[in-house]
């Protein structure tokens, strides 16, 4: 009860190695796109433009 987002993050098993954010650029140079097709319509598999 009374838990918040930070409590959740703090309760996860995570290592002490910081993520190299520059690795999260996709091949087309768009930063942090979760959609590998590079269309930027990212979001858990529901890319409406690309197939």
């Amino acid at each position: 009860m009374g838990k918040n987002l930070l409590d959740i993050a703090n309760s996860l098993y995570l290592s002490d190695k910081k993520i190299e954010m520059n690795k999260l650029y996709n091949p087309k140079g768009l930063e942090y796109s979760a959609c590998d097709c590079g269309c930027e319509q990212d979001g858990e598999g529901y890319c409406m433009d690309c197939d």
């Binding site: 987002l5 959740i8 999260l24 942090y32 858990e44 598999g45």
Partner: protein, 352 residues
């Protein structure tokens, strides 16, 4: 330090937590009766769409709960479409057995549908949804959606209840002209621990998907099989991983890291992803009405906001194996796996 974000891609909008299924693992706790009366008020819906338009989001995915039970759904899709926002539905498809509803949704501009299919027959599907008749209605919904030429996919949540049925599920779904058949791995429900008895570990889910992929390839069907949960990619067979990447059939980074997608809940809560209902970054409504774009961006990017502290805290690899010579961008997959499973045991690592 987080990047300043003023450009957004996907927004998931849960206008209601009402649902006509009671999936045993529901991460949104819509299987609990007390959550089923939660819906956005129509005047707030108007304001929310205005804000999303002002934020220039690219696509709006209606989720829930079951979005087709939201009384104003058709008008909502029309409003979003009128503003140039593409819309999709993540639905159990049951109400789409009504051809008129499907026709209206199409007419108002619905572009895409993902229908949840949890089993390969009435017995297996209905035992997960705990709703008799749901299987046949969902299949009818798929047929009606395809009949209206709406791009349609299915999604199956891999849980301990159906993990051995994936091949039979793809056999069933391959009969339809779907855009894709997708699988995700049942994640933890943060709101109701009773729903967590059916989760499977990411390694278990990946193995089941991999076997299904190999099986599916022998069938030579003209439909894509996708794994949509962000997973540790090193756990996949190298050749399969390369094929999946080539066809955009496996996810890269969890979108929370980028922060360009968010969830708008029925009550105005802004969430990092759909699993976090009840754990908001902030809320857009106040007695004055709704935040304007400037206020939204200020709060969204405020380093003192709990959402940003949360995202900052996530920026650690789950396993030291992820930081040793790995070139993938998965960052170990969905961080919520690691609320239940030990990443040191689960993540294979490429160096091994």
């Amino acid at each position: 330090m987080l990047d300043y974000i003023n450009k957004f891609n996907t927004v998931w909008f849960a206008p209601t937590y009402n649902c006509n299924n009671k999936c045993v693992w529901c991460y949104a706790s819509s299987n609990l009766l007390e959550n089923r009366c939660k819906s956005i008020a129509e005047n707030n819906e108007d304001k929310a769409i205005e804000l999303l338009d002002d934020l220039k989001i690219k696509q709006l995915l209606l989720i829930g709960g079951e979005p087709t039970l939201y009384s104003n759904l058709v008008k909502l899709i029309g409003k979003a479409n009128h503003k140039g926002i593409k819309t999709g539905l993540v639905t159990n498809g049951r109400r789409l057995k009504d051809k008129n509803l499907v026709r209206e949704l199409k007419k108002e501009g619905l572009e895409y549908l993902s229908v949840s299919i949890e089993g390969y027959d009435e017995r297996t599907h209905d035992s997960i949804t705990q709703s008799s008749g749901s299987f046949l209605e969902s299949l009818e919904g798929i047929e009606n959606s395809l009949g209206e030429n709406i791009r349609t996919s299915t999604n199956t949540t891999g849980s301990s209840k159906n993990i051995n049925d994936f091949e039979k599920i793809v056999d069933l779904l391959a009969q339809y002209k779907l855009k894709s058949i997708t699988f995700n791995i049942c994640g933890v429900c943060l709101g109701s621990s009773e729903n967590n008895s059916y989760t499977i570990s990411p390694s278990h889910g990946i193995k089941a998907f991999e076997q299904t992929y190999k099986y599916f390839k022998t069938k030579n069907k003209n439909v894509k099989l996708k794994l949509i949960s962000p997973v540790p990619l090193c756990n996949l067979d190298y050749n399969i991983l390369e094929e999946l990447k080539e066809t955009n059939s496996v996810k890269g980074t969890c979108h929370i890291f980028g922060g360009r997608n968010f969830v708008l809940d029925y009550n105005g809560d802004i969430l990092p992803c759909t699993h976090f209902t009840g754990f908001p970054m902030f809320n857009v409504f106040s007695e004055k009405g709704i935040m304007n774009v400037k206020e939204f961006l200020q709060e969204y990017n405020n380093p003192e906001n709990i959402g940003n502290k949360f995202r900052e805290r996530l920026k650690y690899y789950p396993s030291a194996k992820c930081s040793k010579g790995c070139e993938e961008r998965c960052t170990g997959g969905c961080p919520l796996f690691w609320s239940k499973y030990n990443p040191t045991k689960e993540i294979k690592g490429f160096s091994e």
